[in-house]
Homo-oligomer: 229 residues x 2
Amino acid sequence: MRRRPIPEATVGRLPIYLRALLDLAESRGETNVSSDELARLAGVNAAKVRKDLSYLGSYGTRGVGYDVEYLLYQITRELGLTQDWPAAIVGIGNLGRALASYKGFSERGFRITAIFDVDESVIGEEVGGMIVRHLDELKEVVAEMGTSIGIIATPPLAAQEVADKLVDAGVKSILNFAPAVVNVPPDVTVRKVDLSIELQILSFYQQRTQAIATAREANRRLRNQHGAG
Amino acid sequence: MRRRPIPEATVGRLPIYLRALLDLAESRGETNVSSDELARLAGVNAAKVRKDLSYLGSYGTRGVGYDVEYLLYQITRELGLTQDWPAAIVGIGNLGRALASYKGFSERGFRITAIFDVDESVIGEEVGGMIVRHLDELKEVVAEMGTSIGIIATPPLAAQEVADKLVDAGVKSILNFAPAVVNVPPDVTVRKVDLSIELQILSFYQQRTQAIATAREANRRLRNQHGAG
DNA sequence: TAACGCTTGTGAGCGTAATCACAAACCGAA
DNA sequence: TTCGGTTTGTGATTACGCTCACAAGCGTTA
């Protein structure tokens, strides 16, 4: 099965398995795990776990399960987490500051190595142990530090311009928190995290269930009335 | 076509169209837009735009396009954004603070109406114009304010417990920023935003393209050597 | 009114992802 | 070595989403 390309959907779940496995290894010291248990920890079903892992190769043992350490290593390697990918944040507002000190990044081996803004009142300030630099220095700093990931945390209007500068500086992976669509060349990967879109999606489902409940209620009343009349 | 349920994938794009339409209405004062232009603004293709919009009903005019204001209204209504959904944030660390003052929420009509933590040194503090309350007050405050959305911004270990409390308080929509899987009853919707997972996915693709580049390079050298030999 | 250019709405086809279900393989016990 | 219990790996099936391509319908012009 190996060397079929790993499906996107699977790539999205590997980090979840990774975290579950780390928990298992650290807290319980488990050496083995079944697809059933891993599925429970990851909040998916067991068949999906097995199929996902099968894309990496046959790393399980029938009748036994998967060796936690070995699987950890394989997923880590497949995700490219054996090397480190220095990241830079552009836009040091509320969100940028929070990201600069976000512990979840360093825990997964991502180092924020530089932070940028254009606001003179922010430049030179220390945030998360780093000094805020002017965006004009981006290209130079990226080259110097081998930055491979750019994180956009600017207002929406600045996002495209910042993306262009990141691309120009040679960055091939961008995580965009600005609520705006950014266009990049095909060899650059952009992922978008849009906080208010998430709320809007929640709103949709909430409204729908509420509408259903209201309709049921109306129906019930109508039936009762009819039965009574 | 109406009254087929709207596919999840479409729901996820409606907020993007919404934003594009708002931009059109505000900045250009355009009254009409074609699926082609909307597609360009949203970063998708025109057929997808048309199919997505067709789930809402036939709101376009052949040969002309869509009326911006009318479409805006329909999407807003479909997403349930005509009413407001008070939200509460639990966990006032770096991320919680940033979210509490995040302008993107209010711009899309979401109001954060209460913020919670368990750390006594944080309780009582003012963040984003609100006073941090103790998590124990959650149920009471949710009832009082009609809170419908819960935002979890705690460390991973606390996430499940907070989710349980939100569910117990009657919240049906949860946005989870903690890097942990949370389980909820089937009538509750959870959406997850996991920042380090996004970076790990970027890492995967970055590593892959880098591996390809390296392999090409090796191949090239090999061929050259062969040609020379 | 008729003809033409433009844009929507959607059926059909295709590719990807999820799920099912079971043979293959392993371990331990007898 | 054989048997029984267990769990993986994967072909087959189903569901879902995307894209294509074109008929249907609108507005405009003559």
